[in-house]
Each structure stands twice: as C-alpha cells, then as structure tokens.
Amino acid sequence: MGNEKIRISRRKFLKNATMVAGAAFGYAWLKSSQVLLFAAEPKDESLPWYGIVIDIQKCIGCGSCAKACKNENDVPKEPFFFRTWIEQYTVKNDGSVNIVSPNGGIDGFVQTVPTEEIFKSFFVPKMCNHCAKSPCIQVCPVGATYDSPEGVVLIDEKYCIGCRYCVQACPYGCRFIHPVKKVANKCTLCYHRLKKGLAPACMEVCPTGARMYGNLRDKNGELVKFLKEHTTQVLRPHLNTGSKLYYNALSSEVR
C-alpha cells in the first residue's frame, strides 16, 4: 500500500483542493455573520426588547435609586456592593475632574469643591448596560450568564462557579461577587418585577423621572420617542458592547 502511486492528476487535485478550501471559507464567513446577526437581534419578536434611558439633566443625586435597588434585591449593605450607584462629576476651572461616589450616593451628596472653582458639575447614575454583545457573557466559561430573550443580561446563580471572569470583563464595573452566595451578582433590570408588570425599583422611586425603560421594538413607544428627540450616547461606544443604556446629555468627561 505504501508503495502505490497516487493516481490523481495534478489538475484534478488542485481543482478539488480549491473547492474544499472555498467551501470552508464560505461556510466560515456565513457562520460568523450569523453569529453577529444573532447577537444584534434576537429571534422572538413577540417579547419586548428592553432598553434604558438615563437623563443626566434630570438627575438630582438624591440616591433613591441606589437605596431602592439595595432594598429590592437584598444587595449586601457594605458600601462597595452596588447594582446601581451614582457618581458626581465636578469639572474644575483648571480642567481637572473630581469624581466622587460616597456610599454609591445612597446618603446623598455634599459638594466638596468650592463654588468659585466649579466649571460644571453633574450626576451620572450607573447600572448594568444590558449590552447586546456583552463582554461578560462572552467570557463566561460555563454559560451561567446570558442575554434573556427580552434583552436583559441575567445570571444563573445555580450554575455560576464564581470564577470572576465576568467581573473583570465588564467595562462598566457593574458586577461583583456576592459575599455570601460566592457567585456573580448584578443588575437584573428587576426581572422579577418586569415579569409582574411593575417598573424596576430604581425607576419606581426616581423622583424626577430621570430613568426610563421601555421596549426598543415598539417604534411608537415612549423610549424610542425619547431616543428620536434627544441626542443620546452610550458609555464607551468604541468597545462595541452593544450597550442598551442610553444617556441623555452625557458629557465627554464621563468614563
């Protein structure tokens, strides 16, 4: 067998090899574009596809949202576990930026920069961006975090192994390891409330209506209307996370 000659002409061999390579290339190309499509637009059109808007001009930094979130979701009370928190940015006249978030803003804010030094100041509430192409889901080695059919990024607490990859991967710092459960924890957009027809706790209590959620598929809905009428921006757009948390009047100082 080893001594037998290959009985195939060079022409035929090259033809076959080119066909195989072409088919593999075509398949790979098709497959990758399918993956992209899947990430951008989930299948089930009957369900809402949630997006969030935070209006920085309306936020007064009262901390109601961060407090309500902790109460509603039994988030540990230590001042470094947050599913949502507020940051105060103060741009000084010399161009430097002072960013503070005492206890996530739960106890309110006191302006520490003297008034005459302030160029401008504003609050930025932060929470999970519920990205459509989220880095945290991509790094999970066991499939314990996922994008729900409604576009809400959730955690499977029974399946999470607590490896912390997702905590590192989130460019917005929205995840932490629960000190008791020892698994990843994050904003669920109050999934348990959404399913009961209630607003997420942070949006229920926001006194100025600075936070909104809604169905991005509903082209006549309030959220899409807001996005049409305002110049909104997502955080870190260059990372292509497909963030669905849109900020109105976001200043370039915000990181």
């Binding site: 007064i60 499977d156 399946y159 706790a201």
Partner: protein
C-alpha cells in the same frame, strides 16, 4: 487495488467508540435540563430569576387605601413622585396594614437629599434651598406638608 485494513485500525475504532460513548454518557448527566433551549444557558434559570419577592409595591397599591393622599399629592409639585421614594419599600405594609411596617421620614437631612443646594443639580430639575440659611433648627415638615409642599402650615 486490494482493499486492505491494517489491524490497528479496528482497534483504534473500538477505542474511539468507547471514548465517544463515554463522553456522550457523561455529557448526558452533566449538562443540566433545559440547557441550550434558547441559547448557551439553562432556560430554567429564567424562571429562577423571576422568583425573588418584590419589596416595592408601586403606588397603585398605596392608592387603594390612601385615596386622600393621592388627591392631595395631585394638586402640588410632588404629584409625580411615587410614595415609596420617601416612604421606602411598602410591600410589607401593603400586606399587614400596620403603621410600624412603613417608614415615616422626617428631618432636614432627609428633605435635603433632594432639596439641598448643589451645583450638580439643575435649577429646573428641583427646587433647592440653602440648608444653612433657611429656617435653621426647624424641621421642614413643621411648615411644609410633604404631600403638598406649598400648602403652608401655620
């Protein structure tokens, strides 16, 4: 060409068959039910995420009993603020109807969380006062009705 199978091929095939069936067997027991139904995750986890109990009831639940407060609130600048913004989570109180199960806020610091002067708050977003100058030493609710702030008490 005579068709010839070297003896190591069947042995390898058997080894592979054993390995693959062991893998499939292990996989059957290790992959949880409903995994992969909608995507690369356990579909049953969606149900798990629905389970937590709510603590905030929403103001519709409040107004079922406190119709008078709804009417009062509607007449003034706090009309858009939901009850639980100030009173905290209300589900326990909705179930028990006991006064001790709901938070009754008071004090200058509490009102100040929204109304204290701060350069970061837009004037159009909230009415702000200087806590260090405005009637120092007095509790806000001595003069203002929190449900109807501009109906001044005597």
């Amino acid at each position: 060409m005579k068709f010839y199978i070297p003896p190591q091929i069947p042995r390898l095939a058997i080894a592979f068959a054993i390995f693959i069936s062991l893998f499939l067997l292990l996989r059957h027991f290790l992959v949880p039910d409903t995994f992969g139904k909608y995507g690369h995750y356990r579909a049953a986890s969606l149900i798990d995420n629905e389970q937590p109990e709510i603590h905030y009831s929403g103001q519709e639940a409040c107004f079922k009993c406190h119709q008078n407060i709804e009417d009062k609130k509607a007449q003034d600048v706090h009309s858009e603020i939901h009850c639980e913004t100030c009173h905290g989570p209300g589900e326990k109180h909705v179930i028990s109807s006991k006064a001790e199960d709901i938070f009754k806020p008071s004090g200058r610091e509490f009102c100040g969380k929204c109304h204290a002067l701060n350069a970061a708050k837009l004037k159009s977003a909230v009415f702000q006062i200087d806590l260090e100058k405005h009637n120092v030493g007095k509790n806000c609710i001595e003069c203002h009705n929190p449900h109807q702030p501009w109906e001044m008490k005597k």
